[in-house]
């Protein structure tokens, strides 16, 4: 390893780790990242930039890295756009560079660089417009191929992901000096503390600089503090965990990289785990991100952030270059110079934007053998795929060319305030700190250390300790709150070169340069929001962490406004990219959402049912038999079976609510349009429920089992809404009523047994004691009883098919046994299972309203059910249902329809037009709501809503379907087209 220093670093030199990058094998040490190991091996070129395919090297050592994005792993686990600086090295790691063809060294698309003048910001808005036909055929496919950086995997992810919830008193975000101090204070008080850090090792900046803290090196202090925290039972230390988002009321979302640092997850562990952390108080100790300097040629491989160079030197014992030039606008560059002197790295020059340099610093530079350019700046850089020379301008403007392969930039620090702003707090520019600070943090959240603009080790430790103690105290734990540092080290001011010969980059990842900011300004896109979207500055995977402030400061300069007035764009979650698979956790594939199964699901599967989803429910749609190749065949057979013999249908999914109490009848009278109080014990009634605005909410049956005990049904889809509605009525409107109601949807399975032979089948299973002969148990009778040898049941003679029919409720745990017993009892009568589809056909034949008609937009009058409306009681929806507009003749009302050509097919959704009327909205007279092929009648039939429908039976109209380019002439009928007298019902 050519660039590895012989000593130092937080690495374990006794173990060698082999890995591959772009097909070449290298080695590194435990403690290395992919970036540090490659840098140690002399690799300078890490990627090609997004638009111009310029050669790029590492800019940084952390998660803010914009250039060195790699594809990690191969095959199904391949992950694109991973910053090499965040990849913990492990044996047999495989990674590849991105966005280049055929290789990193020779990238054909670097030709884009020649077209740079055309490819500036706003390029896409001004080109690819003509001819319009070329867009789909040529432009889009071309752009799609050229766009993007990495490639995601194309095979299913073999790993699994978890989600978990964690509660604590104090959440400390960031495990650097400030975070460790905060966690220690809070932890010592006995509070429940969670400490999260994105790194594999806690310490943050303490791992990048020697310190000391007290008498120990900074890294040792960090290690010892972590060890102390790990002895505390109520403190949970979470490395490799990035807090992504702040939500209301102390809720945070974090992602823990459980197994990303291994070849693959072990022992059943998930690859990543998403945490919902609920904290009473939180401390944001995320530190600050260093800013690059903006000058021509600042993107050449070898130009890096000064603080990151210190990280490579101190933490990884790697020198990114042999001969360095340091450019600084504040004190930070001098700290790097001190490290270089200590570690023996050659420094050619230090360029300090400030005109006056302190004597001890001049002395340091002399010891380093480095030239000092006070008041100087960088003019340009040179080098094909790596930096080879730097042109420096002195305070007088005189140019000097220096040989160097490393240029370290120290442009000041941007506090990482994102998490404090996710709830909408606007960052405020602080002139003294040369930084945006979160002035108004959400309640319970406090920023400390660098994130609060308090730069410096002492400031971090003191503000962290203060914040942690205060948070624990606020949670009720006894702890003395130490005093807090208020002053900060002097901040580096922002400064930009007046003119650049070469391209000066602002956003490295999206290839946005000063010329693009100037273009946006010229074209009038001068607000920060426009600047961002027009140039795409800050919109890449790094979200402009090293670019935003420079970008808006440049725009402020160009517009002549100050930075405070220019402001910044809104900071939103997630703070760093997170895989959607991690957020999904276990909810993927068939586990996306829970499924609700009826108690007789097993039986239905055995019978070969084809299932259909209704919300979370699986319902049997039809039961195909061998030899039937399409659903129409099966459904037709099922309908014939019900109407000629007997059929069995599982109707368990309907909502069922049991109401008990001396005021149960009164309560039901107030929610249904028809009178319930007069319902005798042992009888059921069809009921309609309205919303307060007069539109139908739901329909169902009400059965009275005892004077003060009712059972009502709802449609499957509205069960939850009806329950909440009833609870609202009871708790909010009429709490004085003595009624208690409970959902019994899951307590009872329910089967419809329908057809001329249904009575015989039921008589065979019912225990003696319940007489269901015609007069004893007439249409709409209801009773409790026993069947199948002692099992409690409920029986209702209600019919949705129009046949002699019953619904039998059995306790859910016995459903599988009961349904099989029913099938056996009915075998001699030809009992046939039927599903949702056949049920729909039969109710359409009878003209019964269902989901297509009761869709929240229809009133009882629309449905032809005005006769149900009680005249002498008040009920919900009564007044607004009678609004004039809802009574007009032109309002569409329920009709039946059939094609005049009986062989024609009908289609739902078609609209009604008079025969000679033009097909325009002005002549629209209604629509078709339900259609079915009627085996009973031998042709297609339907239900629909037609203006003044009741008066137009016999008339012919067009059913017009412009979406599918077809129309059918239909005859308007009464809704019930089969057995209108209900002879079969009362059989």
């Amino acid at each position: 390893m050519t660039n590895r220093l012989s000593q130092g670093g937080l690495i374990d030199r006794s173990v060698t780790i082999p890995f591959r990058f772009d097909g070449v094998t290298y080695t590194g040490y435990p403690g290395d990242t992919l970036a540090s190991a490659l840098l140690a091996s002399g690799v300078r070129l890490f990627g090609r930039s997004f638009k111009y395919h310029r050669p790029r090297g590492l800019l940084s050592a952390g998660s803010e890295e914009p250039n060195a994005l790699v594809e990690l792993r191969e095959g199904a686990r391949r992950e694109p756009n991973v910053p090499a600086t965040m990849v913990e090295l492990y044996p047999d790691l495989v990674a590849a560079s991105q966005n280049r063809y055929p290789s990193l060294r020779f990238d054909l698309l670097a030709a884009n660089g020649l077209l740079a003048p055309i490819f500036g910001a706003g390029f896409y808005y001004k080109t690819f417009m003509w001819p319009a036909s070329f867009w789909e055929r040529l432009y889009e496919p071309l752009i799609r191929r050229a766009a993007g950086l990495g490639r995601s995997a194309t095979e299913p992810d073999p790993d699994h992901y978890e989600r978990a919830t964690l509660f604590c008193d104090v959440l400390v975000i960031g495990g650097g000096a400030a975070g460790l101090a905060a966690a220690r204070e809070a932890g010592r008080s006995g509070a429940r503390v969670v400490l999260c850090d994105e790194g594999s090792r806690l310490g943050g900046w303490l791992l990048s600089e020697p310190g000391p803290i007290g008498d120990r090196p900074a890294a040792i202090w960090a290690e010892q503090t972590v060890a102390e925290l790990q002895t505390m039972d109520e403190v949970r230390v979470m490395p490799r965990t990035t807090v992504l988002a702040t939500f209301d009321h102390g809720t945070y979302v974090a992602v823990e990289r459980v197994a990303d640092h291994k070849l693959m997850p072990e022992g059943g562990e998930p690859r990543q785990r998403v945490w919902h952390i609920i904290a009473r108080r939180s401390i944001v100790a995320c530190g600050a991100t260093e800013r690059p300097l903006v000058f021509g040629g600042n993107d050449r491989p070898g130009v890096m952030l000064s603080g990151s160079v210190r990280t490579y030197l101190n933490r990884y014992a790697v020198t990114p270059g042999r001969r360095a030039v340091i450019a600084t606008t504040g004190d930070d560059g001098w700290d790097l110079l001190a490290d270089c002197v200590r570690l023996g790295v050659d420094v050619a020059a230090i360029v300090d934007r400030r005109g006056t340099i302190a004597a001890d610093r001049l002395d340091l530079a002399r010891r380093a053998g480095a030239q000092v350019f006070a008041g100087g700046h960088i003019g340009a850089t040179a080098g094909a795929r790596r930096l080879s020379a730097v042109e420096v301008l002195d305070s007088g403007g005189k140019r000097q060319r220096l040989t160097a392969d490393l240029l370290a930039m120290a442009g000041g620090w941007t506090p990482a305030i994102g998490l404090a702003c996710h709830l909408g707090a606007k960052p405020v520019w602080n002139e003294e700190s040369s930084a945006f600070l979160a002035a108004e943090a959400p309640p319970g959240l406090r920023l400390v250390g660098g994130a609060a603009g308090l730069i410096g080790l002492v400031q971090a430790l003191e503000s962290g300790a203060h914040g942690g103690a205060e948070a624990a105290s606020a949670c009720g734990f006894a702890v003395a709150v130490p005093a807090m540092a208020t002053h900060s080290e002097a901040a580096a001011p922002l400064w930009f070169m007046p003119a650049n010969r070469q391209k000066a980059f602002v956003d490295f990842q999206h290839d946005v340069a000063v010329s693009d900011v100037a273009l946006a300004h010229r074209e009038g896109y001068r607000s920060v929001e426009h600047l961002k979207r027009y140039t795409t500055l800050g919109m890449a995977t790094d979200q402009g962490r090293t670019a935003n402030v420079n970008g808006l400061a440049l725009m402020a300069q160009m517009t002549g406004r100050d930075i405070a007035a220019t402001g910044t764009t809104r900071l939103r979650p997630p703070h760093t990219p997170v895989a959607i698979g991690a957020l999904a956790g276990m909810h993927r594939g068939r586990d996306y959402r829970p499924t609700r199964l009826t108690p007789a699901q097993g039986w239905a599967r055995e019978q070969g049912a084809v299932f259909i989803e209704t919300g979370p429910w699986l319902r049997a749609q039809y039961f195909p038999r061998t030899g039937e190749d399409d659903w129409l065949q099966s459904v037709t057979r099922e309908v014939h079976a019900v109407r000629s013999a007997v059929g069995l249908c599982d109707v368990s999914t309907l909502g069922k609510i049991e109401l008990v109490g001396s005021d149960a009848a009164t309560f039901l009278d107030r929610v249904y349009v028809n009178t319930i109080a007069t319902l005798p014990v042992g009888r059921a009634r069809y009921g309609l429920m309205l919303r307060e605005d007069g539109f139908t909410l739901d329909d169902g049956t009400i059965a009275r089992l005892q004077p003060d005990r009712f059972v009502i049904t709802t449609t499957t889809g509205e069960a939850h809404a009806v329950m909440s509605h009833l609870e609202y009525c009871h708790q909010v409107l009429w709490p004085e009523l003595d009624v208690h109601f409970v959902s019994i949807s899951d307590r009872w399975a329910q089967f419809a047994v329908a057809g001329p032979r249904s009575r015989a089948v039921l008589q065979a299973v019912l225990d003696p004691g319940l007489d269901i002969s015609g007069d004893a148990f007439p249409f709409m009778a209801a009773a409790e009883g026993r069947a199948f040898g002692g099992l409690r049941i409920r029986l209702f003679r209600i019919s949705f098919s129009g046949e002699l029919a019953y619904e039998l409720a059995v306790p859910a745990p016995q459903a599988e046994t009961a349904v099989r017993a029913l099938m056996q009892a009915g075998a001699g009568e030809g009992i046939t299972p039927y599903g949702l589809e056949a049920m729909s056909v039969m109710r359409i034949e009878k003209g019964y309203a269902a989901g297509g008609e009761i869709n929240g937009q229809t009133t009882p009058r629309d449905l032809g059910l005005e006769k149900m409306l009680a005249k002498r009681k008040d009920y919900i929806g009564r007044v607004l249902m009678r609004r004039r507009a809802l009574q007009e003749a032109s309002r569409p009302t329920l009709v039946g329809l059939r094609p005049t050509d009986r062989s024609a097919r009908l289609h739902g959704g078609a609209h009604f037009l008079a025969l000679q009327a033009p097909a325009t909205a002005a002549h629209d007279e209604g629509w078709v709501s339900s259609v079915a092929f009627s085996p009973t009648l031998g042709h297609w039939i339907g239900l629909g809503f037609l203006a003044n429908g009741a008066a137009r039976h016999g008339e012919r109209v067009r059913a017009y379907d412009p979406l599918r380019n077809r129309e059918t002439e239909v005859e308007i009928m009464p809704p019930c087209q089969f057995d209108p007298e209900g002879v079969r019902l009362h059989g």
């Binding site: 509660f167 276990m586 009826t598 108690p599 208690h740 859910a812 745990p813």
Partner: protein
């Protein structure tokens, strides 16, 4: 073989009634002398001799018994008579018992509740939504042992979820 620090079993079928007071009746008071296990305050559960009472909403209780619905119905009718409105909901839920030192961490992947001993102790009960499933649960003892109920139609998904988080 790795020793697991938690075990999970499916609960047997229980008889179950939902009970609410008729207007003005002080059911909790009555239950002190009339039931082997009295009715608890909101957010709590009590258990003695095969009879459990649970309260997760004001003025409503679930009473669960290891026996038939007939037996439990008769017991409650005798205890409360006309003072209570009762609905038999036997069979509406399926249940699971999870116990052991590892159960808090495992259930932390499922329940959005604070299971830490400072926040939840034996005798506490709650209704919540976990992984899109409606769940009723209580802590039965300090082992800790938890019992969770889910409506029957969700039984297969409930089981599947417990497998995915490593409880089963």
């Amino acid at each position: 073989m790795v020793e697991r620090d938690l075990e999970a079993v499916v609960l047997p079928e229980l008889a179950m009634f939902a009970v609410a007071p008729r207007r003005g009746e002080a059911l909790r008071q009555r239950s002190q002398r009339a039931l082997p296990t009295p009715l608890p305050e909101c957010g709590r559960t009590l258990f003695t001799d095969g009879l459990r009472t649970v309260c997760v909403r004001p003025d409503q209780w679930l009473v669960l018994g290891e026996g038939t619905a007939e037996w439990l119905g008769a017991l409650l009718a005798e205890a409360f008579g006309d003072a209570a409105n009762m609905v038999d909901v036997s069979g509406a839920y399926v249940g699971m018992r999870v116990r052991g030192a590892g159960s808090r961490a495992a259930l932390g992947k499922f329940l959005p509740l604070d299971l830490h001993p400072r926040a939840m102790q034996a005798g506490h009960a709650a209704a919540t939504l976990a992984a899109h499933l409606p769940v009723l649960l209580w802590q039965a003892d300090d082992m800790p042992t938890y019992e969770l109920l889910c409506t029957r139609s969700y039984a297969a998904s409930f089981r599947r979820t417990m497998e995915l988080i490593g409880v089963f």
